[in-house]
Each structure stands twice: as structure tokens, then as C-alpha cells.
């Protein structure tokens, strides 16, 4: 519009006398123009409100931060993680078992931030080197937490976890200093080991898509859990498949009524990878990961 005005003014400037400015030195503004300006201000306020309102939805994950979710290995504490994650998904791309997913709008954990649903696909460390940490460009997943960030008591691992798969390698440990969660027998009454039962067949059924590295099959290629049926007299799948040395074992424990029974017991080296939760044959799983949990004596 301004252009048309300008060009008309330019074309006719020879024949017309120059326009006189208004008395107060400012160009006169017509009523119509003033109305247009006012509407524009209103629209500007409208767009500001709309975009900022939408941006406020970005804070929902902080409101929901009470609800714990499992982040990939090496993740900073939740608030620092949300502040530093650039939401690029490079951790997703390097994971050999596709354990890492990106959160959507309604997940309430930050659009585009990575998380692990261990029941669907746990981190089995079949990459050996924690590739996701290596891939992270911002240090959201990190081998070495910067000094100014505190380590919550019980989050630090007493020693670097030994990966059973590379126990005989010159360097058998994982470069992890903090756990991402802790496994807990949340439904002991459902646990087959507690009931003294065995397990035969495919854990999680024939349609389960989850993968796991079985050292007896191939060290470098994880295969589908459904392709690896079990036949055990006393169920110990969580202990059998745990990738970390000394993190879980079947122990004889005393029930509240004084009777003896077998039960999986989680130990301090547990990093919270979730393999036990993934392979647990009962539905829902008897053993689950408490995301972001620390080790309590």
C-alpha cells in the first residue's frame, strides 16, 4: 500500500504542489489510518499472547517433573537435563536396540526429549561403550558431570559397573558414574521366583518386539527376545539376563510371617537399565525400574 502511495506521489510531483505538513510538525493521520493502526496494535498483542501462551506449555514438563521417567544412561538430573537437551535425537540414532524414544507433546516430559520405556525396550548396553553419551552434543548425557552440578546422595555408583558381556576384555567396565534408576521388586506376590515357579516358553509372548544381546547367540548382534525361548525350573530371568555384574541375584529371604522363600534381590551396582523389567514374564512386570531413584541402604 505504501508503495502505491509513494509511486503516485512520485509520478505527480511535477504537477502538484508539495503537501503541507500539519501544524504540529507531525504528518496528519486520518481517522481511518488511526483505526488501522489501533487494530494492528491489537493484532500484535494477540499474536504475542498466542505465542507466549503456547510457549508456556513448554513448562509443563517442569510441572510434571515429580513424575519420574527413565532418561538414557549418563543423563543429568531432570531439571538440568531439560535445560541442556537440544532435542536432536542423536542418542536415538546410535542406539543399537532402539531403546531411546523422543517424547511427544502429551507425554509431559518435554517435546523431543529422549526417554526409555524399559518394559518395551530396555537399554542392554549391547553397544558396550554407551554410544548415546558419546553422541550427545550438549553434555545432557555425559561421562563426566561438570563440577558445579551436585551429585545426589546414592546416585553415584560405588564403582564403575562391570559389563558381564565384556568381563574378559582388558577394559570390562562401563564409563558410567551415576545410575539412571534402580530396579525394585514392586509386585513380589506376582514374582514367579517368589512363588517357587519355573518358566517355559517365550517371555512376553511371540509378538514382543524387544531385543536383547544374548552372548550365547552373538556378542555383536542383539536378537529378538521372542526368538529366544526359555525353559527354567525356577524363574530367574531377571538375574540371568542382567547385563551388569553383581546387580541382582536370587536369594533366600524371610517373609514377614517367618517362612523362607526365594526372591530376586537388587544390589548396589544396579544402574537402572531395565533389562529385568523387560524380560519379566508376568504381566504387569513384577520387577520395575524406579526412574531417577538413588540407592538407599
Amino acid at each position: 500500500m505504501s508503495e502505491i502511495d509513494d509511486e503516485v506521489a512520485g509520478d505527480n510531483s511535477d504537477s502538484n504542489p508539495p503537501r503541507q505538513p500539519a501544524g504540529n510538525g507531525k504528518p496528519a493521520v486520518s481517522i481511518a489510518k488511526r483505526q488501522t493502526n489501533r487494530r494492528r496494535v491489537l493484532r500484535t498483542i494477540l499474536l504475542t499472547g498466542g505465542v507466549l501462551g503456547a510457549a508456556m506449555s513448554g513448562f509443563l514438563p517442569l510441572v510434571y517433573a515429580q513424575k519420574k521417567r527413565l532418561r538414557p544412561p549418563g543423563a543429568l538430573d531432570e531439571k538440568d537435563f531439560l535445560g541442556s537437551c537440544i532435542k536432536c535425537g542423536q542418542c536415538v540414532q546410535v542406539c543399537p536396540v532402539s531403546a531411546i524414544k523422543l517424547a511427544d507433546l502429551v507425554d509431559g516430559m518435554g517435546v523431543g526429549t529422549p526417554y526409555i520405556d524399559p518394559r518395551a525396550q530396555a537399554c542392554d548396553f549391547s553397544c558396550d561403550a554407551v554410544q548415546c553419551i558419546l553422541a550427545c552434543p550438549t553434555g545432557s548425557l555425559t561421562y563426566h558431570k561438570p563440577d558445579f552440578l551436585p551429585v545426589r546422595p546414592g546416585a553415584a555408583l560405588a564403582a564403575k559397573p562391570i559389563l558381564i558381556a565384556k568381563e574378559n576384555d582388558p577394559e570390562p567396565t562401563l564409563n558410567m558414574h551415576e545410575r539412571i534408576g534402580v530396579a525394585r521388586l514392586t509386585r513380589p506376590e506376582a514374582c514367579l521366583a517368589v512363588q517357587g515357579k519355573g518358566f517355559k516358553g517365550q517371555t512376553r509372548g511371540p509378538d514382543f518386539k524387544g531385543q536383547l544381546r544374548y552372548m550365547t547367540v552373538d556378542r555383536w548382534k542383539p536378537v529378538k527376545v521372542s526368538s529366544h525361548p526359555y525353559d527354567v525350573a525356577e524363574c530367574d530371568l531377571c538375574v540371568r539376563e542382567c547385563p551388569v555384574k553383581g546387580a541382582i541375584s536370587i536369594e533366600t529371604v524371610f517373609a514377614p510371617d517367618g517362612s523362607q522363600r526365594k526372591s530376586p534381590v537388587v544390589h548396589e551396582p544396579c544402574v537402572g537399565c531395565g533389562v529385568c523389567e523387560m524380560v519379566c514374564p508376568v504381566e504387569p512386570a513384577a520387577i520395575t525400574i524406579e526412574a531417577g531413584e538413588v540407592w538407599k541402604l
Binding site: 537440544i86 542423536q90 517435546v111
Partner: protein, 325 residues
């Protein structure tokens, strides 16, 4: 650079942050001569009509640009999908055959929110900074950003509806973009959380293309809806802080559009197709301060004006080099 062009350059930077372009107070003698010559020149008007009749619409730069944009985004998708590992990650941060690349605005948000910068972040940001200084700043917007392409198509629908008088373009104060930039930077510092990343249509679309669609696309749809029915290209013009960040990079970039006063008929076709018509105020009759004026940093170097100009008065140019096109 003449003193007039320097003053013009400063004005163009002000325009980038939202100021309205103003009439220059002084015109150089060489430009003045051309302006004077053009006034009421019958031969020129005849020539204008002739050129108009014979002008064939070109889509050269648009086609090149769309091909580049689609190729770049496809490379992300294919790298993950086929596991060829050429360009891993998303537009916010990626690795090109191992080299870190990190989007400047996303990097800024993370640095402000997290207040801790690791080497990879610094390397990636530095690489991208150098890349876009060389390539022209907001070139990112029109040549890479996937939202730009969708918005371009939405704009076509909007313009069609405008021509049918079903909608009108509701323009908005351009200073709003600078305000948003500051608000999102302050929010990142104050809350320690990258708020803008949650609503960035660039990030949402890039991730959707690579990792599959999600509900976050609803926000992108809402933006496109707003642009079709209310305000032409509203997000890119009035809101997107990424555009401003790359616009600042464009201040020092040698790649720009160069305007030549000599052949211009001041018909304004270029301003009609332009995403940021305020950068083309120089082409309005009587405003060019010199016979050749570079277009300002808010220009996305999309080339639509180059395609549409019937006289070749607008062309790609690299400061210090001969012309590209």
C-alpha cells in the same frame, strides 16, 4: 562503500530489528541522475511495456532452493532410515560425517538455560556460524528450514483467498520478533529451561521428518492455519527468533541480493512475492541512494525477487566476487 551506503547499511540493520524503512534523506549524485532521467521518459515507458510483454516468468532460483531444502531434510531422514550415517541428528543439532553442526538459536537457548558449554557444543556452533556467515545468514530460513517450505505453500493458499476477497492480510508490528527474541532469551536464563525449543516449528518438523510424526505437529498446523486465514507468513515475519539470530549473522555475510537502479521500472513485482518486503524498500521509486544498493540482512536470499524481476535488476551477488547468476 560510500558514506550514503554506510548510512543505508545501518538503516537496514535497524529494519532487521523491526524499524520501518524510511525514505533516505540524501541521494547520491549518480543515483539522482538516473532517478531524474527516468521521470516521465516516454522511451522508457515504451521499453517498460515491451519488456513486460516479453518477460517469461522464471522459477530458476525457487526450483534450486526447493531442491536444496528437500535434499537437506531428506539427507537427515535417509541417514537415520537407511542407517547411512551421513547427516545424523536433527536440524537443532547434528553431525555431518562426524563433524558437529549445531543450530545457532538452539545452541544459544541451551547455553543460556544450562549455563555450561561443553567443547562439542562450542565446536558445532562455531562450524555452523562460519557456514552461515559464508552462505548468507537467513539463507538458512529459505534454503533449509522445513517450516519455510510449508509456509510458502500456505502463503499461496492465503494469496488465492486474498484474490477472492475471502480474507485480508492482517499485518502485525514487526518489532514483535525482536521482543520475542529477548523474551525467550530471558526465559531461558531465568528458568534454566529451553522454552522456545518446545514450540519451535523448525525443530518439531525436523524431528517429525526423521523420527516420525507426533502430536506436536498440531502446533505447526495451528500456525499454518493462522497464516492462511489471518496474517501472511506471520510466524516467519513477526515471531521466529531463529530468523532474527540468522539475520544478525547475515549482517556480516558477503552473500546478498544486489539491486541495480539502472534497469528497474519500479513496478514492485519483487515486493509482492517477497517474504520480507521491507528489505526491498530500496526499489521504490526515488529511494535508491546509489546506482547499486545491496539488500539488507533480513533478506532470506530466497531468490523469488530475482526470478520475478523482468529486467534483471535484482541478482545474487558475493561481496568482492563477480556475480553468481
Amino acid at each position: 562503500m560510500s558514506a550514503l551506503l554506510k548510512r543505508r547499511f545501518v538503516d537496514q540493520i535497524k529494519v532487521l530489528f523491526g524499524a520501518e524503512p524510511s525514505k533516505p534523506k540524501e541521494i547520491g549524485p549518480a543515483a539522482q541522475q538516473i532517478h531524474f532521467y527516468k521521470k516521465g521518459n516516454r522511451d522508457l515507458i515504451a521499453e517498460k511495456l515491451h519488456a513486460r510483454a516479453h518477460a517469461t516468468p522464471s522459477h530458476k532460483w525457487r526450483n534450486r532452493r526447493w531442491a536444496t531444502l528437500i535434499f537437506a531434510n531428506l539427507l537427515f531422514t535417509l541417514s537415520f532410515f537407511l542407517d547411512i550415517q551421513i547427516l545424523e541428528g536433527a536440524l537443532t543439532a547434528s553431525r555431518f560425517v562426524g563433524f558437529h553442526l549445531i543450530d545457532l538459536n538452539s545452541a544459544l537457548q541451551v547455553m543460556l538455560a544450562h549455563k555450561h558449554i561443553i567443547n562439542n557444543l562450542l565446536i558445532g556452533t562455531g562450524t555452523v556460524l562460519v557456514l552461515w556467515v559464508l552462505l548468507g545468514g537467513r539463507t538458512f530460513c529459505s534454503w533449509v528450514c522445513p517450516y519455510h517450505l510449508l509456509a510458502e505453500w500456505a502463503e499461496k493458499i492465503h494469496l488465492f483467498l486474498v484474490s477472492k476477497k475471502l480474507v485480508t492480510d492482517q499485518n502485525i508490528d514487526r518489532r514483535l520478533r525482536s521482543v520475542f527474541w529477548v523474551i525467550f532469551a530471558l526465559l531461558a536464563v531465568a528458568t534454566g529451561y529451553t522454552v522456545f525449543e518446545a514450540i519451535s516449528p523448525t525443530g518439531i518438523l525436523s524431528r517429525a521428518l526423521i523420527y516420525g510424526p507426533g502430536l506436536a505437529l498440531l502446533w505447526v498446523l495451528a500456525l499454518l492455519f493462522f497464516e492462511v486465514f489471518f496474517s501472511r507468513r506471520a510466524w516467519c515475519r513477526y515471531a521466529c527468533p531463529i530468523g532474527l539470530t540468522y539475520g544478525v549473522v547475515g549482517i556480516v555475510s558477503p552473500v546478498r541480493i544486489l539491486y541495480k537502479l539502472d534497469g528497474c521500472f519500479h513496478e514492485g513485482d519483487c515486493r509482492k512475492v517477497c517474504l520480507v518486503p521491507h528489505v526491498l524498500d530500496t526499489v521504490i521509486k526515488g529511494r535508491a541512494v546509489e546506482p547499486e544498493v545491496p539488500i539488507g540482512p533480513d533478506c532470506t536470499r530466497c531468490g523469488l525477487c530475482v526470478d520475478v524481476c523482468p529486467t534483471g535488476s535484482l541478482s545474487f551477488d558475493v561481496k568482492g566476487l563477480s556475480k553468481l547468476a
